[in-house]
């Protein structure tokens, strides 16, 4: 272990100190403009970014400050390649979100000071989560992150549904903490110490059963935080409720800390484990990916739609992660490294494009004061920059080349194929093929969903006056989004750069590196099963585009195009004639009806009571809350029933309680004589 001396150990904690300073500034000077705390956050995140990149390139482990409160509760921090990568993700999104927030906060209702302080605190807590090197420090940071994000979710607590969303989030996050604590206690029982270093050395001696229990506890705990189906119920409620730059952080970054936790406990501390761990992660990931995108298709609230896409993308990340676990358990370090790269690359990519999309949705909400797709439309003309950047994000999340989503999903495919070709049992080979098929289905449906999201929001005619009167947002918000849009291109075109950053991570975890080879920057999977050269792709795409244009010009020329209004049987064109979001998704609703259980309520109003003359039709689509109905409600009912049983012990009479004590005292005294 390479331990750096003196001042160095404290440097990676500098961003945390700056975030804390920003939070203090917001709280002390409540009247000051919201700009200052966010500028501090911006500086802190830039510093964090620098530290993370430096540490990743050096590939060393920095043992940071350690404080011993009691012999039990030591608080220590460490920056290893895995933490550095997640620090990079956090800081990168924080840069864009802070820039955006400077322009965005002018319109937010409620206490800006509290929001700015919580924003800084949220970032500090997330950085501490990935730096923690002892159980105590990790749990402290984890709980701080959960609590601060709860306050961010209920920021607009005057709106209907926000308090409910906050409550559901709080309950789920506490349940997840309970599982986390159970897992850590099991590890502590073997290691006898709460330091990660001690746990890492002793975990090998753990009995298989307790190791499996540790893994399952961690999977439930982190699965809840990540929003894995069926533990996702809080996510589509809580993420849209928060202000948009916070939604970007929650969806882009916070749920990734769960991936970090799963890697830290399930891989780094308790070892990669037996094959079924990876199989379980892979299966959960595949289910989350497909169902997440299907639920997203059913949504017509822009931010809820994006939140369900987070469930989908966490599923894709988990598919890569599960494949890595599986390959590592078969002793295939090179392939495991490829799968890890796929998973972590997608962590970074999803953070970038999901943050971009949430910031874009925030800009739309800022300009139109609505998130309902059915009352948007025609924004491309009124908000050209926002729509261009939303389009880039939409193309990236739909995994279209040459953007970043394509590279990581391609890598995930490659690792699934590698799993299929190296798996020792035919069952697994078939399973990996099925998983690859589900991934392909997810990609296609995601593209469909973003045709809907982008098309209904930005194209056509405005469906409401608010959408018709929208104006482009201010430049800080555009700069924040623009930064992420550029990253979507950069990460898609230069994957070898990311691979170099990830090399030390995979080397420390899987003991192998996915070697990037140069040239026209092709990306090659081990065994040369496939290779990808994004720069070649874009050159080819550009060439084909030019060719198509040339052919079109040479055959038709510009003379034969004519601009005219579409023919609508001689009527005036009305916005209601356009496709609605619900109608566009109808084919999917019919095909996958058995999976997603949709319902619709149609209410007809008749003209003067005659059944043949319908004056008004009200159509309300929805999705049955399957998880609430079959999983959560029975659990809550059972809990309340149990509580009722226990309550019958409680008479409420002071004398009865005193009599319990009296009788116990006398009996114990007589017995011990």
């Amino acid at each position: 272990m390479n331990v750096e001396p003196n001042v160095e150990p404290y440097v990676p904690l500098a961003p945390v100190a700056l975030y804390a300073l920003g939070a203090l500034m917001a709280l002390v000077e409540r009247r000051a403009p919201a700009r200052m705390p966010h500028l501090t956050a911006l500086v802190a995140s830039v510093i964090g970014l620098t530290i993370a990149i430096r540490a990743l390139l050096a590939g060393t482990i920095y043992q940071l400050a350690a404080f011993s409160v009691t012999p039990f509760a030591s608080i220590s921090f460490r920056l290893d390649p895995l933490s550095a990568f997640f620090l990079l993700v956090i800081s990168l999104i924080a840069v864009a979100a802070s820039l955006y927030a400077i322009g965005y906060l002018g319109s937010e209702p409620g206490s800006i000071a509290g929001l700015a302080a919580a924003y800084n605190g949220f970032l500090a807590a997330m950085v501490l989560v990935v730096l923690a090197d002892s159980v105590f420090a990790f749990l402290f940071a984890w709980e701080a992150m959960s609590l601060v994000s709860f306050f961010l979710v209920i920021h607009k607590n005057g709106e209907s549904g926000v308090r409910r969303a906050g409550y559901v989030y709080l309950v789920m996050t506490h349940a997840s903490s309970a599982f986390l604590l159970a897992g850590f206690l099991l590890l502590f029982a073997e290691a006898g110490s709460l330091d990660f270093a001690a746990i890492r050395t002793h975990a090998a001696n753990l009995a298989p059963l307790s190791r499996d229990l540790v893994f399952l506890a961690a999977l439930v705990a982190f699965g809840t935080k990540a929003g894995v189906i069926p533990l996702h119920v809080w996510l589509p409620r809580a993420h849209p409720a928060a202000p948009s730059h916070v939604s970007a952080l929650m969806s882009g970054v916070m749920i990734k800390t769960a991936i970090y936790g799963l890697l830290r406990i399930g891989w780094d501390l308790a070892g990669p484990g037996p094959g079924w761990w990876g199989g379980l992660i892979l299966a959960l990931g595949a289910i989350s990916a497909v169902l997440g995108v299907l639920y997203a298709l059913m949504e017509h609230d822009l931010k809820r739609l994006l939140a369900f896409h987070s469930v989908e993308n966490i599923g894709i990340i988990l598919m890569g992660l599960g494949t890595a676990f599986l390959l590592a358990s078969f002793g295939q370090p090179a392939h495991a490294a490829l799968a890890l790269v796929a998973s972590l690359y997608h962590v970074l990519n999803h953070a970038v494009f999901k943050a971009l999309l949430f910031l874009g949705a925030g800009a739309v909400q800022h300009a139109t004061h609505t998130r309902d797709l059915e009352s948007l439309g025609g924004l491309a003309r009124r908000m050209p920059w926002t729509s261009a950047m939303f389009l880039i994000g939409a193309a990236a999340i739909s995994a279209l080349p040459p953007l970043n989503g394509f590279v990581s999903e391609w890598l995930t495919f490659q690792s699934l194929l590698a799993l299929g070709s190296t798996a020792p049992t035919p069952f697994l080979s078939i399973g990996s093929a099925v998983a690859a098929g589900m991934l392909a289905l997810t990609g296609g449906l995601a593209a469909f969903c973003f045709v809907k999201a982008f098309g209904i929001t930005f194209l056509g005619m405005p469906r409401s006056t608010a959408a018709g009167e929208a104006h482009e947002v201010g430049w800080p918000m555009l700069v924040g989004m623009g930064l992420l849009a550029l990253l979507c291109f950069g990460l898609g075109l230069l994957p070898t750069v990311v691979l170099r950053l990830l090399a030390s991570v995979t080397n420390s975890l899987a003991g192998a590196i996915t070697q990037p080879s140069l040239g026209l920057m092709p990306l090659t999977a081990p065994d040369r099963a496939g290779s990808l050269a994004p720069l070649t792709i874009i050159v080819l795409l550009a060439a084909l585009g030019c060719l198509a244009l040339l052919i079109g010009r040479s055959i038709g020329g510009s003379a034969c195009s004519r601009v005219a209004a579409p023919w609508v049987c001689g009527n005036e064109i009305e916005p209601a004639m356009q496709y609605s979001a619900t109608a566009l998704a109808k084919p999917v609703r019919i095909i996958f009806g058995g999976l997603i259980r949709p319902y619709r309520e149609i209410e007809r109003k008749h003209k003067s009571g005659i059944a043949y003359f319908v004056s008004e039709v009200h159509y309300e689509p929805g999705v049955h809350p399957v998880y609430e109905h079959y999983l959560y409600n029975p659990a809550v009912r059972a809990l309340l029933k149990l509580a009722g049983r226990i309550r019958s012990l409680q008479t409420g009479s002071l004398r009865t309680y005193l009599s319990y004590m009296f009788v116990t005292l006398v009996v114990v005294l007589l017995l011990t004589r």
Partner: protein, 221 residues
């Protein structure tokens, strides 16, 4: 050392027996004010016990302990309770759920239980006499009995102070004087506890216009 250990033992025995008598006597008192005065009397007897220990050991902190006992158990605690009593009740009677005769019978039974339990425990050396431990345990048990048979919230406070007095008798005789820090800690604990309980009692009275604890049953969900 002004008195020798043997005469100190004799004196402590007498004080313990007097304290033992106060325990069943507390069951017989009908008025809350009298119960509080009885607490002050117990405090005075405890101060006397502490004084005997101080005279026999001659250490300076034992004298301080006597002063603390007088200040807290004779003056402060009964004083606070009388103040609370003046504010909260119109009827000054103790209201119990069992008759006085039954209570006395139970109290005597508890004294027997105390002798049965604590009699053989006492090491016949130092300041511990054959009666001091049983007296302490009977004060404890009868204090608890009073707490659970009486309705008014202030009776519970009186009961717990009586239990505390029993514990203090045990501490004084068994340890040849507590360390000053412990003595101060226990004393401050008691004063603060009684103040808080008195305050809560007053608030209960202000909210429900009664301090009958039966009404608290409605708080159950």
């Amino acid at each position: 050392m002004i008195i020798d250990v043997e005469s100190a033992r004799g004196l402590l025995n007498v004080v313990s027996l007097l304290l033992l008598l106060t325990a069943p006597a507390s069951v017989l008192l009908r008025r809350l004010g009298d119960s509080i005065v009885l607490l002050a009397g117990q405090g005075a007897l405890l101060a006397a016990a502490a004084a005997v220990v101080a005279l026999a050991t001659g250490t300076s902190h034992a004298y301080v302990a006597v002063a603390i006992t007088v200040a807290i158990k004779v003056l402060a605690v009964p004083g606070i309770l009388l103040l609370v009593l003046r504010e909260v009740t119109i009827k000054k009677e103790v209201e119990a759920v069992i008759s006085q005769r039954l209570a006395l019978l139970l109290a005597i039974g508890l004294v027997l239980v105390a002798y049965y339990i604590a009699g053989p425990l006492a090491p016949q050396e130092g300041f511990v006499t054959g009666n001091s431990l049983p007296a302490a345990v009977s004060m404890l048990l009868i204090g608890l009995l009073n707490m659970l048979t009486r309705k008014k919230a202030i009776s519970q406070v009186i009961g717990i102070v009586a239990m505390e007095n029993g514990l203090y008798l045990m501490a004084v005789t068994a340890t040849q004087g507590l360390p000053l820090a412990v003595e101060l800690g226990v004393g401050i604990d008691l004063v603060v506890g009684v103040m808080v309980m008195g305050f809560v009692t007053r608030e209960i009275h202000r909210t429900f216009n009664t301090i009958n604890t039966d009404r608290l049953q409605t708080l159950r969900g």
